[in-house]
């Protein structure tokens, strides 16, 4: 028996856009042995998900496999009838999707979605499958393994659901599982649990896996080999340790280099300086749901303050309170020593001008029907009373500042820009008001690492040139390490800790900060094992 489980040769996939077929994958090879895990790395649009699905002989709606061969354990997947390939999917090749919340059917209990695979594929009966599910739930340390299956997907948290989906993929004991960014949507503290769950289960059943991600540190923990894709082409492939230590290609090296960005340490603000932003005893709620509990912090002029925490920790809400979008029920916000009205509608034009925002999704934050000149020109016109030629000149200056060629971009629409360019326009729009304070709400989390790094560098440069103050909301601690001067850690609507970057990252830490910091994946392939062993000993 040969050891090769999956053999993909010269695979080409086309996607339909605007009525023409365009190549998404231009002839990629992939070989996978039994029990082996290969990591697929690449930016968005690299074709890694498409390649993963092609390993099941499947293409999304609007895509087609146009060339090459996919051989799975001696079966040519591209020449199967629909019924034959359905017989393999779920039974011998399983799939774990990025968002378990969207990929579990909201209408059925988790256990029923688990058992339907084995029952329909006639691998085992319902009762037996149920018993096995409980064993697996327990193995993946899901709470209440005997009853959790009877819950509906919306009754279970995101991290638990992602583990339940991994369990579901195991239901027929497949030979191969495709993991498509299974932890991308999770907080770091949850991610680590899911990662260890996946690794345990893959080890125990000696399942081969294709692990797709854009996070190098994650793939370093999971994969035996790493393959790097760029725009549908293979860049290089090597065993994990070798790839981490000695990447060969320029592109790979540039991916590795992103992690080296680090801003210089600024001197601490002088005592007695009035902070630019003072949040004092703020308590806020959405309707009846309390979100912030007595939160106080200062932000000094010219500094970058990172606010970190998991989803639901209240970090965006704090920003909304400062911007006047959500009036607090108690407490107040002082800007430049002056108490601002709590609701933005009661703030004067000069007060509004002080605080500007940059949003996470540049896609939805820019009006698709307006040209760049209008998007950036509007705040310039409103706050600075610039009209006609003067406004256009101002837009050109701003485009120049955000490193986009003015003549090329000024008359374009947002749809004609890339993700990184759109985010730059978002920055220019905030700058156009000439604010003193900018709130950056997860501005890089929707971007690929290289692009995100460019945005961070730009923000740093602008801060130096224009003496700006940033409140930088993020859940990504690597970003915090790169650019923050001060750090605020939040959990469940309250402050855990605040201080300068050196203080926060240097031990000793409060328990929660420790958990948060130790959960951030490191490039060391042994990181996950070390952390988990360490945590097991503490228990």
């Amino acid at each position: 028996m040969s050891d090769i489980l999956l053999d993909i040769k010269g695979l080409k996939v086309e996607g339909k856009s605007a009525d023409t077929w365009q190549q998404i994958i231009n002839g990629v090879d992939l070989t996978l042995n039994r029990g082996e895990v290969i990591g697929l790395i690449g930016e968005s649009g690299a074709g890694k998900s498409t390649l993963g699905l092609a390993a099941m002989g499947y293409a999304h709606d609007g895509c087609r496999i146009s060339g090459g061969s996919v051989n799975f354990d001696g079966i040519d997947l591209l020449n199967l009838s629909s019924a034959q390939s359905r017989g393999l999917r779920g039974k011998r090749i399983a799939y774990v999707a990025q968002s378990a919340a969207a990929s579990f059917n909201p209408a059925h209990r988790i256990i029923d979605q688990y058992t339907e695979g084995p029952v329909v594929h006639k691998v085992k009966g319902r009762t037996e499958a149920k018993k096995e599910a409980e064993v697996l739930f327990e193995k993946l340390q899901l709470p209440n393994p005997h009853t959790i299956g009877f819950r509906y997907p919306h009754q279970v948290s995101g991290g638990q659901l992602q583990r339940a989906m991994t369990v579901m993929a195991m239901s027929c004991k497949p030979d191969l599982i495709i993991f498509d960014e299974p932890t991308t949507a999770l907080d770091v503290t949850t991610q680590i649990e899911v990662l260890s769950a996946i690794r345990n289960i893959v080890d125990e059943f000696n399942t081969a896996a294709i692990y797709i991600t854009h996070d190098l540190a994650v793939v370093a923990q999971m994969a035996d080999r790493i393959k790097i894709l760029l725009k549908g082409d293979q860049v290089e492939e090597a065993p994990t340790a070798e790839m981490l230590d000695a990447p060969q290609e320029e592109y790979t090296k540039s991916l590795w280099a992103v992690r080296s960005l680090k801003s210089p340490i600024k001197p601490a603000p002088a005592k007695g300086d009035v902070p630019l932003i003072q949040v004092q005893g703020v308590t806020a709620a959405y309707g009846k749901v309390p979100v912030l509990h007595d939160v106080s912090f200062d932000i000094h002029k010219g500094r970058t303050v990172a606010v970190v925490g998991e989803s639901g920790s209240g970090k965006s809400t704090a920003a909304r309170v400062i911007a006047g979008l959500l009036p607090p029920s108690e407490g107040q916000v002082l800007i430049g020593g002056e108490a601002f009205p709590t609701h933005f509608k009661q703030r004067s034009k000069a007060q509004l001008q002080q605080v500007q925002m940059i949003y996470q999704m540049a896609d939805t934050a820019l009006n698709p029907k307006q040209k760049i000149s209008e998007i950036i020109g509007r705040p310039a016109e409103y706050y600075l009373d610039l009209k006609g030629k003067a406004a256009r000149e101002r837009v050109r200056d701003l485009l120049f500042q955000i490193e986009l060629e003015p003549d090329q971009f000024i008359d374009r629409y947002p749809s004609e820009l890339s993700g990184g360019q759109k985010q730059r326009i978002g920055i220019a729009r905030a700058l156009a008001a000439e604010p003193s304070f900018i709130i950056c709400d997860e501005v890089t989390s929707a971007l690929d690492q290289l692009v995100a790094e460019g945005i961070l560098r730009l923000l740093q440069k602008l801060q130096g040139d224009l003496d700006l103050t940033y409140m930088f909301i993020t859940h990504d601690l690597a970003t915090v390490r790169a650019i923050a001067d001060d750090v605020i850690v939040m959990k469940d609507g309250a402050l855990v800790e605040m201080g300068s970057r050196e203080d926060i990252f240097a031990p000793p830490h409060p328990d929660y900060t420790e958990l948060l910091l130790s959960s951030v994946p490191q490039m060391d392939p042994n990181w996950l094992t070390t952390v988990l062993n360490g945590r097991a000993q503490e228990r």
């Binding site: 699905l53 099941m56 499947y58 999304h60 709606d61 390939s85 359905r86 017989g87 393999l88 999917r89 779920g90 039974k91 399983a94 799939y95 999707a97 968002s99 969207a102 990929s103 579990f104 059917n105 909201p106 209408a107 059925h108 339907e116 695979g117 329909v120 594929h121 819950r151 509906y152 919306h154 009754q155």
Partner: protein, 318 residues
């Protein structure tokens, strides 16, 4: 569970409030008609004394609010007063006809709902196939013709030419169950043709709308057969819009079938309403309108509650 009961109770309360408002509108709209009701009944040559006596008999000399309350109170007990045209108690006039209308509606629904949903599911399963297009075109044709036209065509072919079914559905007295089905087959078929298209197209659209969802792709990647994907994975999530369109069509079957009843001389509520309007029998019109409004509100309420009950997010809180 308590939150769920609260939600349902609040829907019921809203339904009752709507019904109260509608009853007031029905009552007032008759009041606002020009002329004096007693004068209308007795004709132009009646003496002033007889008109005054008539007004007393009808209770028209009492204040508006008082009359409204006593009318509504009577209606709640099933007592709608007497017909102005022939002096008979309205509940006797309406009772049997309302039951006839309900029977015809139930007959039609028992054919149309299963047919429409099966066709809709099959069309979604084999979408863009010849079958899908055929079903779409055929149902579109049947819905495009006015219902009386469909009725006459059916009478022409199935009754006059082939003689399979009676063209007149004038059921009277004690008809047996199968005799009823036989005699009312043509009106039921007519109504089926009229309402199937709407429900079928809505079912198809609701299912197809869901097919791009990640959980449908997941079912596909689990190797589930297409039929199972449609029935087990898409249909339960499409129930709310389907239930609503069924309720809408059920309401039409009870309140909108006047023309079909006239074509087939079927003794239903619709015919009574038409007769009463032409005879200016306002008390009967009022009663019929109130019954129609109640049916509408009850059916919509049922659809609301069913939508809640079939939604696990509402049934099983976190």
């Amino acid at each position: 569970m308590i939150a769920l009961i609260q939600l349902i109770l609040s829907r019921v309360a809203l339904g009752l409030l709507t019904l109260l408002i509608v009853s007031a509108v029905i009552f007032l709209s008759v009041e606002l008609l020009p002329g004096d009701l007693a004068q209308e009944i007795l004709g132009q040559r009646a003496t002033e004394e007889s008109v005054a006596a008539m007004r007393r008999d009808l209770g028209l000399d009492r204040p508006l609010i008082e009359r409204y309350v006593s009318w509504l109170g009577g209606a709640l007990r099933g007592d709608f007063g007497v017909s102005l045209a022939n002096g008979r108690a309205i509940q006797d006039l309406i009772g049997e006809r309302f039951i006839n209308t309900l029977l015809l509606a139930a007959y039609t629904a028992s054919i149309a709902v299963p047919v429409a949903i099966s066709l809709g599911l099959a069309a979604a399963l084999y979408r863009n196939s010849i079958f899908d297009r055929m079903v779409n075109v055929t149902t579109l044709i049947t819905i495009s013709f006015p219902e009386f036209f469909v009725g006459y065509i059916l009478i022409l072919f199935l009754s006059s030419k082939l003689g399979w079914f009676p063209g007149i559905s004038n059921i009277r007295g004690d008809v047996g169950f199968f005799e009823f089905l036989y005699k009312t087959f043509l009106p039921a078929l007519t109504l089926t043709l009229v309402i199937t298209a709407h429900m079928m197209r809505m079912t198809r659209a609701a299912i197809i709308n869901l097919l791009a969802r990640p959980y449908i792709e997941m079912a596909d990647l689990k190797g589930m057969p297409r039929r199972r994907i449609i029935l087990k994975h898409a249909l339960p999530n499409a129930l709310a819009p389907i239930i609503n369109v069924i309720a809408l069509n059920m309401a039409y079957l009870i309140t909108g079938v006047v023309l079909v009843e006239v074509v087939f001389v079927y003794p239903g509520l619709g015919q009574l309403l038409v007769d009463s309007v032409s005879k200016r029998d306002v008390t009967v019109v009022q009663a019929a309108c109130l019954i129609f409004a109640s049916v509408y509100i009850i059916l919509n309420l049922t659809a609301d509650v069913l939508s809640i009950v079939t939604n696990p997010r509402l049934m099983h809180k976190k």
